[in-house]
């Protein structure tokens, strides 16, 4: 199985961005590109060529779902699993987000100690 190395993380909150990066890089050992907005993500996605995309839902301007849709247009997401991260958990929203093509919805606040393994589980599941 291909190893997971590169993760694209789109998150507008700098604190969470920083924490997630530490959690993924220090604990998971991944390469993480943190983008503060959907636009920034779109600009860098082709060049970075991520193997996994982690998307915040609530972002000013282009939200997570919209970013995902635009990413679809930009690159082929067939082999790239996408997970949403969100604090808003209304009933049915998780279903909605899954319907958009995300494999998993990670609830905030996330456990930084487990984030990396959560990603790995999703990655391995997608390979099957």
């Amino acid at each position: 199985m291909t190893e997971l190395r590169r993760i694209l993380h789109v998150e507008d909150d700098p604190s969470i961005q920083a924490v997630a990066r530490v959690a993924l890089e220090a604990i998971g050992g991944y390469d993480v590109l943190s983008c503060s907005s959907g636009a920034e993500a779109l600009a860098n996605v082709e060049q970075f060529a991520p193997q996994f995309i982690l998307l915040d839902v609530m972002m000013p301007g282009m939200g997570g779902p919209e970013t995902l849709a635009k990413l679809h247009e930009r690159i082929d997401l067939k082999d790239i699993p996408v997970a949403f991260m969100t604090a808003k958990v209304q009933p049915g929203e998780i279903e909605l987000l899954r319907d958009l093509g995300a494999r998993e919805v990670i609830i905030k606040p996330f456990d930084p100690m487990r984030l990396a393994s959560q990603i790995r589980v999703i990655w391995e599941a997608s390979r099957q």
Binding site: S15, I16, V22, A26, M58, A87, P91, K108, P109, P112
Partner: protein, 804 residues
């Protein structure tokens, strides 16, 4: 024996007049009468003849009123001798009929009675007609002596006189009979009075009226017997002064007016035989004969007692009728009058009958000035169209002040062109006052409804809108329209509470109320110009005074603001919690990373501080989670994944999850018995409850004690799960509030033990929303036992259900 008998005896001139004169005597074919037989006897004796006849000659025959010596009653005129007699004047004599060519062939000569001698004298009526003869007949030829002729003449005159007399007597008798019949058949009492004032006859009606029989009164003075002398005297005095002549108090009082040619009709009181007074209307008329001589008087008395009774009855009935009964005679362009007015005229107009007797002016004056012209106009109108009249107007009553009356009358056109009205006027002041009051109240109600900030709409039993206040018009942007209820949602743009789904017409609150339902707080939306206004409607059926439903009414409150606030509130918690979580994520994540040593070893002097920070951020997160949970629970928006499952594994799971935590405080959790039962729960949420109860128990448990966890069957097929600790128990002050939010906030010693203060409140909601009950038993100083009960399910019900 055919001969030269003339077929017809010669006719006298003026024959028709003669016949008429004869018929006038009504004597033909009457019976024999003694008076006439006496004459024939006399003349036969005097003239010494066997036969004597009184014959009357009519058109075809001679008929014998009296016959002596002859059987036949009549003979044909053409063979009669008398027919010759009546042609002439004076005696007609035939000495020997057999020798007389006129009679030789006459059967009465040739045969029976073989007449030879005839002598007859015409019977001449006063107007000069010869009606017949008095004649004598012999069988031998002879002649009358001069004396005999003279006798014949005289007796002839007597016969004529007898005719007259007889006729007069008959006429008299006839008249008398007719008179009597007339009198007797008259309804009025009639008395026939002689010129001297004495009673000559009375009829049956008079007998009944006065109590006398005719015999008792005949011959008595009318004035003296039947009249009161004082009354006569009074009248006499009046007449005397009127005429300037002395009138005696007697019969003259009654007859005096007649002299002026007046017919008098006056009311008198006659004296009944028993002494009582009989009120009558008396009419006296004089009887004159053909010579203008006074023959007497006819007095007719019309019984007024009956009339008086009727009048009294009418008065009594009229007095019962509230108001004034009237008869009004309206003459266009002339003086109108009131032929009849009941006593109610005082109550209505404050007038007496006497005041209006001569003119209706006082009535008109009593009418309130502003109403006079309309009153006249309405009368004229009703009179011209002969339609029933109905008019309400005001009257200035002298005693009562200004009153309202209602007048009604029906007209009857009279032959003389006037209109006779029969009507009733009633005082409706009270009713009018009530009406005005009602109108005022209704007006006030109407204004109130218009001023309300709620929309009020009402309809009748058929669904026709009867009320559509200002606010309703504002909200719908429309006025009330005549549409059946099925069309209302579309026309008025009604939606369900979500603001866009069209409302099914049966669910319209007003329609539901129309069907008898009492609707409370039905939320619908009214769209206008694309904007939905959220309203809460209360609707009720309306009932009439007969208890039957006669409509419905709906009152709608604008809840747009309320809804907006609710939405904000709903979103507030999730918005806030989201806002709170975001920085919290960073805090806890950072602290976790540092405390875990991932970033490197942590200097000891920093460890404690970092641990504190870590713990508290954890607490903060737990608090936010709990807040979100309780909010969801209260809003009924928590998502439960219910499944029927065995209880025991759930308890074992709880044991495992919480054992470590419990071990920090005491000897740990001990799971005792658990029956093999199925419950229907959301496993995750049940774990939440169990964790809450077990962690609470741990916090309060003495270090050397265990926490007990077990399950046992309870009443009604339920199972009770219990968690017992040997701690201090629940204080008395706490017992009522223990399941409330932040109940432990006051209690200082529990604050140290952590917890959000929401745990039990959340547990209660969770258990209750899973159809269970929760409670506790505790004796202070002897620990506490928290329990919850859940319904159990039969085996084989392992269905997954999701309940929102």
């Amino acid at each position: 024996m055919e001969s030269t008998i003339p077929t017809q005896a010669p006719f006298a001139p003026r024959e028709l007049s003669r016949l008429a004169a004869l018929l006038r005597y009504e004597i033909l074919d009457t019976a024999d009468e003694g008076d006439f037989d006496d004459i024939t006897q006399l003349v036969a004796r005097f003239c010494d003849t066997p036969i004597a006849l009184i014959s009357l000659v009519d058109e075809h025959r001679q008929w014998f009123k009296s016959r002596l010596g002859l059987e036949a009653r009549e003979t044909p005129r053409r063979i009669s001798f008398c027919t010759y007699t009546i042609e002439g004047e004076g005696i007609f004599e035939v000495p020997d009929a057999s020798q007389d060519p006129r009679f030789a062939d006459n059967p009465l000569v040739t045969g029976e009675p073989t007449i030879r001698f005839y002598a007859g004298i015409p019977l001449t009526s006063p107007d000069g007609f010869n009606l017949g003869t008095l004649c004598v007949i012999d069988r031998r030829p002879r002649q009358l002596t001069a004396e005999q002729r003279d006798t014949l003449e005289r007796l002839g005159r007597q016969v004529t006189r007898l005719f007259e007399e007889r006729l007069q007597k008959h006429r008299h008798a006839e008249q008398a009979a007719l008179q009597q019949a007339l009198l007797d058949s008259a309804a009025s009492a009639v008395l026939v009075i002689r010129p001297d004032g004495r009673i000559s006859s009375i009829n049956t009606a008079a007998e009944h009226l006065l109590g006398y029989s005719e015999q008792m009164l005949v011959g008595h003075s009318l004035a003296a017997t039947l009249f009161s002398q004082e009354a006569l005297a009074r009248r006499a005095a009046m007449l005397s002064s009127e005429r300037g002549t002395q009138i005696e108090a007697g019969f003259d009082v009654l007859t005096a007016p007649l002299q002026d040619g007046q017919r008098t009709m006056r009311e008198w009181r006659l004296l009944h035989r028993n002494g009582s007074e009989v009120p009558v209307l008396l009419n006296i008329s004089a009887i004159h004969d053909e010579f203008e001589l006074l023959r007497g008087y006819i007095v007719s008395a019309y019984d007024l007692a009956h009339q008086e009774n009727l009048q009294l009855q009418l008065q009594q009935i009229a007095a019962q009728v509230p108001g004034m009964l009237f008869q009004f005679c309206w003459r266009p362009n002339q003086q109108s009058s009131f032929p009849y007015l009941s006593e109610g005229v005082e109550a209505i107009y404050g007038l007496s009958g006497a005041q209006i007797a001569t003119s209706i002016g006082p009535i008109y004056s009593a009418v309130y000035p502003d109403d006079r012209a309309p009153l006249l106009a309405s009368i004229r109108e009703a009179a011209s169209s002969l339609s029933p009249w109905h008019f309400e107007h005001r009257i200035n009553h002298p005693r009562k002040g200004l009153i309202w009356v209602e007048a009604r009358a029906t007209p009857l056109r009279q032959p003389d062109g006037s209109v006779l009205w029969h009507g009733l006027v009633t005082d409706i002041t009270e009713r009018k006052a009530e009406q005005l009051e009602l109108d005022k109240q209704q007006e006030m109600n109407r204004r109130l409804l218009e001023a309300l900030s709620e929309a009020v709409i009402a309809c009748d039993a058929e669904g026709n809108l009867t009320l559509f206040n200002n606010t309703a018009r504002l909200w719908h942007g429309l006025d009330a329209c005549k549409l059946p209820p099925e069309c209302w949602p579309e026309h008025y743009d009604l939606c369900q509470a979500d603001g866009h789904t069209p409302l099914p017409w049966e669910q319209t609150p007003l329609v539901r109320a129309l069907h008898g339902e009492h609707v409370r707080n039905a939320e619908i939306a009214i769209r206008l110009d694309g904007v939905a206004r959220h309203v809460a409607a209360n609707a009720d059926p309306l009932f009439g005074s007969d208890g039957q439903q006669n409509g419905a009414v709906v009152v709608m409150h604008d809840i747009t603001e309320r809804k907006r606030i609710e939405k904000l509130q709903r979103e507030f918690v999730s918005t806030v919690s989201h806002e709170l979580r975001t920085p919290l994520t960073s805090i806890t994540a950072s602290l976790t990373l540092v405390c875990s040593g991932t970033m490197g070893a942590v200097p000891e002097y920093l460890q404690e501080l970092l641990d504190i920070a870590n713990q508290n951020s954890g607490r903060l997160r737990a608090l936010i989670d709990d807040l979100l949970d309780i909010d969801k629970l209260y809003a009924g928006k928590m998502h439960f994944s219910m499944a029927v499952q065995l209880l025991q594994p759930l308890l074992e799971q709880a044991l495992r999850s919480n054992q470590a935590y419990a071990g920090r405080y005491c000897l740990g959790i001990q799971l005792s018995e658990c029956p093999e039962l199925l419950v229907r729960v959301d496993a995750r949420r049940l774990q939440q409850v169990l964790s809450n109860l077990l962690s609470n128990a741990a916090k309060f448990s003495p270090a050397n004690e265990r926490i007990e966890l077990w399950a046992e069957p309870a009443r009604d097929g339920r199972v009770r799960v219990s968690v017992r600790d040997r701690g201090p128990g629940i204080a008395e002050s706490f017992r009522g509030r223990i399941f409330q939010k932040f109940a432990q906030a006051d209690s200082s010693d529990t604050r140290q033990r952590g917890g959000t203060g929401l745990g039990l409140a959340i547990s209660k909601e969770l258990i209750e929303q899973m159809d269970g009950t929760i409670g506790f038993d505790s004796t202070p100083g002897q620990g506490a036992c928290f329990w919850f009960e859940l319904p159990t399910y039969g085996r084989g019900h392992a269905k997954d259900e999701a309940r929102t």
